[in-house]
């Protein structure tokens, strides 16, 4: 039976506004988060991921009030990430009305957080997020803290650590592709999906529907995209859209 392929808008929070970056830099304001959430919900987006790109760097709490307000508009599953390093934050976020908490930097700084969160809230509520950059030698380097910090653990090992700790999904983002709209890093998707037993959400590079299909064919379980859903035309006019005219059907290989 055909599985319905998940296509996930990925929204970036900066302060109380939504922005879109290129290679994790140069944030451009693209609108009001609650309004954007309402639009994506009206368009029946499959799911939504919201990432606060400053919370970890500023060492501050998630903006619970805003997250609660956004969740009130989301009649599809909503994930939140940014500044999550303690179990009480995970609990409070879920009480705000979201389904999934995204944990990235804390996978290094608070290695027990995923294990503890998965035990209490279930694996399905925990997404382990990984940001990578390609090195000059063609291998992948894992980075944390919004791309500002290198970690020493190898990508394969890092993924294994997250899976064995109890992550229910992996969210994989190639920073070099972020905002470029030139397609996902397909070799990376093939490499990671080949040995992964849990769903893989990929992010970074989507510009067209063909890019989404390529990512599914390379082994992604779900595709996330930012620019594609907030910019329109070559001058990158801000226009929120969700291309769901014909749903992408995904036949497992």
């Amino acid at each position: 039976m055909m599985q319905h392929a998940r296509v996930i808008p990925c929204l970036l929070l900066r302060g109380n506004g939504l922005v879109k970056t290129k290679k994790f830099k140069d944030p451009v304001y693209v609108g009001d988060p609650v309004n954007a959430m309402r639009i994506f919900s009206d368009k029946e987006a499959d799911e939504i991921v919201v990432l606060d790109i400053e919370a970890t760097l500023q060492r501050r709490e998630p903006n619970y009030e805003l997250i609660h307000e956004m969740a009130g508009e989301a009649f599809m599953p909503m994930a939140y990430g940014g500044g999550v390093s303690r179990i009480d934050q995970v609990r409070r976020l879920i009480r705000c009305g979201i389904e999934k908490v995204v944990i990235n930097s804390a996978t290094i700084d608070a290695p027990n957080l995923i294990r503890e969160s998965a035990r209490i809230f279930g694996k399905q509520a925990i997404i382990g997020a990984i940001d990578v950059r390609k090195t000059l030698f063609g291998s992948y380097k894992v980075v944390t803290h919004a791309g500002t910090r290198d970690i020493v653990v190898e990508l394969d090992q890092h993924i294994n650590n997250l899976v064995s700790a109890g992550a229910g999904e992996i969210f994989l983002n190639n920073i070099d592709r972020d905002g470029m709209m030139a397609g996902y890093d397909l070799p990376l998707i093939r490499k990671v999906s080949a040995s992964l037993q849990i769903p893989l959400i990929v992010c970074g590079g989507a510009g067209t529907k063909e890019h989404l299909i390529e990512a599914f064919q390379a082994g992604a379980s779900a595709v996330a995209a930012g620019s594609m859903f907030v910019f329109h035309g070559k001058h990158r006019a801000v226009l929120i859209s969700y291309h769901c005219g014909e749903k992408i059907e995904h036949k497992p290989l």
């Binding site: 039976m1 599985q3 319905h4 392929a5 998940r6 919900s41 029946e44 499959d46 799911e47 609660h68 969740a71 009130g72 989301a74 009649f75 599809m76 599953p77 909503m78 879920i94 009480r95 705000c96 009305g97 979201i98 389904e99 035990r119 209490i120 809230f121 279930g122 694996k123 399905q124 509520a125 229910g168 999904e169 992964l196 037993q197 849990i198 769903p199 893989l200 379980s221 779900a222 497992p252 290989l253």
Partner: protein
């Protein structure tokens, strides 16, 4: 009033949010008095089976739930692990469920192309059309699933909706006034709204 049982498991605000958006009066509660007043009950549930069962037991609400659901016969809707708990037991843990529906819960088989947890939208097939829960559901409905375990009713006539993920499984079950859905109607756009309306207004 619809009582949404609050026993500290997962995202119940989303359930309340959808009922409120539909103009239906609901209350997130762990008070027996509220449950005595309720006309409908929603039993949510997220995470591990044992954790949910233990939380529900230590809430002390099981006797009042039994009174309202088994004696008074008011409609109850279990969601996700809240639905699985309606059965006798689960492969996920050692605790006993409520046993209100004659079923057990098994783990989804893992396959390379079908990772577990099963996470995402899935079409459902109607197997029983006369249940009021489904009275407002459009034909091509699909729902959001997030689960590693599935319900196995002994009696196939108690399967309301079927879905498929490597194998065909019960997406919704019902026995009389008691129903359970494996998916998350509160996060399934208009399809979830249709199901909630069927539950609340039928």
């Amino acid at each position: 009033m619809i009582a949404i049982i609050d026993y500290d498991v997962g995202n119940i605000a989303a359930v309340a949010n959808m009922f409120q958006r539909l103009g239906l009066k609901c209350l997130m509660t762990h008070s027996a008095d509220d449950i005595l007043q309720a006309e409908r009950i929603v039993l949510p549930g997220n995470g591990a089976f044992d954790e949910c069962v233990r939380n529900l037991r230590s809430s002390g609400l099981i006797p009042v739930l039994e009174q309202r659901v088994l004696n008074d016969g008011i409609p109850l809707l279990g969601i996700c692990v809240g639905a699985q708990m309606l059965g006798h037991s689960s492969e996920e843990g050692g605790e006993s469920g409520l046993g209100w529906i004659d079923m057990t819960v098994s783990r989804l088989p893992a396959a390379k192309t079908l990772p577990v947890p099963h996470m995402g939208w899935c079409a459902v097939t109607l197997t029983q059309s006369e249940n009021p829960l489904l009275s407002r559901l459009e034909p091509d409905a699909r729902f959001y699933f997030a689960h590693s375990y599935y319900m196995k009713p002994k009696n196939s006539t108690e399967v309301l909706l079927a879905a498929s993920y490597g194998l065909s499984f019960a997406a919704a079950v019902a026995r009389g006034n008691i129903a359970g859905v494996q998916f998350h109607p509160e996060k399934s756009h208009r399809f979830g709204k249709q199901l909630f309306e069927g539950f609340a207004r039928a």
